[in-house]
Amino acid sequence: MRARVQKHAMVLLALAALFVAAGCGASGNVGSQKGNLAPDFSLETLEGGAGNLRDYRGKVVVLNFWASWCAPCRAEMPDMQTVYGELREAGLVIVGVNQGESRDEVSAFAREFGLTFPILFDENQGIARQFGVRAYPTTFILDRSGVIRNVIVGGPLTRTALRREVEGLLK
């Protein structure tokens, strides 16, 4: 009788451990790989004030590391803006993380391309390093709970490709 209770307890414990492990695997692991919870950060925004990644929790986030001197980054900006306009209401946000440029340069660029999504200043490219960015542009697709669902290295991303990345997550 006692042996049976012990056996049941063991099975329950093992199950509990499995659940915990699965939970961690799904979203508890903070990191920059697909399946990881994206690390939070706080950076200054183009509008002024601090922008935190966690502010966008609940939305599908396109986290785009870019610079105006980077040709493929420039090339994908019009489509980024288009998709932002199309899907903002549905819960999409594009967060442009600028790499080391001045406020003047970035605001001129944003005006030129008519960018209206949030732009943050990663002045010493420390956040890019934290996200393991190996080339510019790199784009992370985050679901509504902040988990990295895809990492796209290089560009330019087209409107079609970008919509394909996010549409399933917006549902």
Partner: protein, 192 residues
């Protein structure tokens, strides 16, 4: 007498044709595999591909000024293994790979390897200072209006194109490259 001269000339011409055809034959294994193509495909016209740079195909030629004011063409390095690196000083991953490029260059230059670092859109002084700071001895080229992108439509920066001794693109590597990765990619080409 005259006949013998003609024979000698013909032999010399034949030899010359064979020798000049040799690199083309070596360079294009795919073309040789498709030997069943119509006879017109065998015409010995050598045209330089304008681009885009594609793995397995001849690397489009380019020419830029170096930080020292010399004009350098990719085709000047035919016979060497060349790593064409598209980069900028502002780019973190590019800075990260510079020590690896320098180490690989120092190790393999005596065996016929070079790096051509094609800077994207920056001022000569800034680029020269950067090259000095990192002890770069390979040519640093200035592509001030980013025109290499026409024939080398890179998708991210940095990108490295590895070109073999026959001028064929053998690898396109996006993102920072390590000395170890260069070793894996370049050593077989140096031995070839």
């Amino acid at each position: 007498m005259r006949g013998a001269f003609l024979v000698r000339q013909a032999a010399a011409l034949g030899l010359l044709l064979c020798v000049s055809a040799l690199p083309a034959a070596c360079a294009r294994p795919q073309a040789r595999l498709q030997a069943t193509a119509p006879a017109t495909a065998a015409a010995p016209t050598v045209t330089r591909r304008p681009g885009p740079a594609t793995k397995g195909q001849e690397a489009p030629d380019f020419s830029f000024q170096t930080t020292d004011g010399k004009t350098v063409r990719l085709s000047d390095y035919r016979g060497k293994v060349v790593l064409v690196n598209l980069w900028a000083t502002w780019c973190g991953p590019c800075r990260m790979e510079v020590p690896d490029l320098v180490a690989a260059y120092n190790r393999y230059a005596p065996r016929g390897f070079t790096v051509l670092a094609v800077n994207q859109g920056e001022e000569r002084d800034l680029v020269a200072a950067f090259a000095g700071q990192f002890g770069i001895e390979f040519p640093v080229l200035l592509d001030q209006d980013g025109r290499i992108r026409t024939n080398y439509p890179y998708r991210g920066i940095p990108t490295s194109f590895i070109v073999d001794r026959n001028g064929i693109v053998r690898e396109i590597w996006m993102g920072n490259i390590s000395e170890e990765a260069i070793k894996q990619l370049v050593e077989p080409l140096l031995d070839a």
